[in-house]
């Protein structure tokens, strides 16, 4: 089995975590591998969620030295029921466990998603008008996309609030068909991964219904414009990085993610938020 060393991100930015993820995925090449995390001290949700998903999907393994944080967040298997989530939170009160939301589980999945969102809100501890909706909106829409579009059996979601830095990182991952394949299979449209991301962000749904296609772009707008955050979207061999001012699309040579990775960072809200000006 190939041994892959996961590199410490060069700083704590979302882009630095993305770069680390890019390197290990490129090296692993979609195969079973043994990941060495022992040199990583900055384990962001983007890095851990993508790695957890990869490990589960490929039957890979990892080593991390003694790291209680990974145990606290239930890396890499996560929790997939309300009772497991509640038990995890009972044990490590301020850590949100990696949560697995299975497509087939219907209302019990919604209840787990509710628990996850409630925990995020509790840890963030902001009681300003509109903030709870602003937290809930992108999470629910991104999970809906996993269930409706990816064809994946499950989605994985993870969050971490950094108390001293006052920002919240969230990552949603699936290993479904990815955007480009969605457009091809649903509409017969042949897009590169970059073009597929651009189409999705313009609101052109992979579904036939013209009233759809709003969830992803409005989520990005709420994260970046309403909340002042940053948004990263990976599918196949392309990535979009958005911060409300710039929308940068890049090709990721030698890299392929089967499915979608969405990661975003929002500063702790300090004033009321109105998401409805961004809801279409």
């Amino acid at each position: 089995m190939k041994r892959v060393v996961v590199l410490q991100p060069k700083n704590e930015s979302l882009l630095a975590s993305l770069e680390s993820v890019y390197k290990w995925i490129k090296e692993a090449q979609g195969e079973r591998a043994h990941f060495d995390l022992s040199g990583v001290t900055w384990k962001s949700p983007l890095l851990l969620a993508a790695l957890a998903s990869y490990i589960q999907n490929t039957g890979s393994s990892y080593e991390s030295g003694s790291d209680s944080y990974l145990d606290c967040v239930h890396f890499p298997k996560g929790v997939n029921s309300m009772s497991a989530f509640e038990e995890a939170v009972q044990r490590s009160k301020t850590y949100i466990p990696i949560s697995i939301l299975r497509s087939k589980n219907g209302s019990s999945r919604e209840q787990l998603e509710t628990l996850f969102i409630d925990m995020v809100k509790r840890i963030l501890a902001v009681q300003l008008p509109g903030v709870h909706d602003a937290i809930s909106y992108p999470i629910t829409e991104l999970i809906t996309n996993v269930l409706e579009h990816s064809g994946a059996e499950y989605g994985l979601i993870f969050a971490q609030y950094y108390q001293t830095k006052k920002y919240l990182d969230i990552c949603v991952v699936d290993t479904g068909r990815g955007l480009s394949a969605s457009y091809m299979q649903e509409k017969g449209l042949d897009f590169s991964d970059e073009d597929a991301i651009e189409e999705a962000m313009k609101g052109h749904s992979t579904k036939q219904d013209k009233e759809r296609g709003y969830g992803l772009r409005t989520s990005k707008n709420i994260v970046c414009k309403a909340l002042g955050g940053e948004f990263v979207f990976v599918s196949g061999s392309a990535v979009l990085v958005s911060d409300g001012q710039r929308e940068r699309l890049a090709s990721l040579p030698g890299f392929y993610w089967q499915g979608v990775i969405v990661a975003y960072r929002i500063p702790k809200p300090s004033g009321p938020i109105d998401i409805y000006q961004f809801v279409e």
Binding site: H132, E148, A250
Partner: protein, 113 residues
């Protein structure tokens, strides 16, 4: 003879305190058909949030059932839930023009610089 039965579905217990996904809303379709009622109230009491996707699915369901002579009513939808239903319904009637953001194509080196 017209069936004038009225039934109520309390969404908090039928689904969850937050409703995010389309599939759980869509699953109500079959439950409602089996009720054989002419009016069905979807009770949103204690529902903290519904996503845009879920709101859209509720509205689509309402339209579909209307064609089958089933009157679907949304009751006890307060504050943010009511606002989401309102905004999505308004957009269905008069779609907002989708703004076209400018996407800058950059190299990997430029991205990670």
């Amino acid at each position: 003879m017209k069936n004038t039965n009225k039934r109520t579905i309390r969404l908090f217990t039928a689904i969850a305190p937050m409703i995010g996904s389309r599939d759980v809303v869509s699953a109500l379709r079959e439950s409602i058909r089996q009720m054989a009622a002419s009016t069905v109230d979807l009770d949103f009491a204690d529902i903290a949030f519904i996503s845009r996707s879920a709101a859209h699915e509720f509205l689509v369901l309402k339209d579909e059932l209307k064609k089958r002579n089933i009157d679907l009513q949304f009751i006890n939808a307060e504050n943010e839930v009511a606002e989401m239903l309102r905004v999505v319904a308004a957009n269905r009637t008069v779609p907002r023009a989708k703004d076209e953001p400018h996407f800058e194509r950059v190299s990997l080196d430029a991205l990670f610089a």
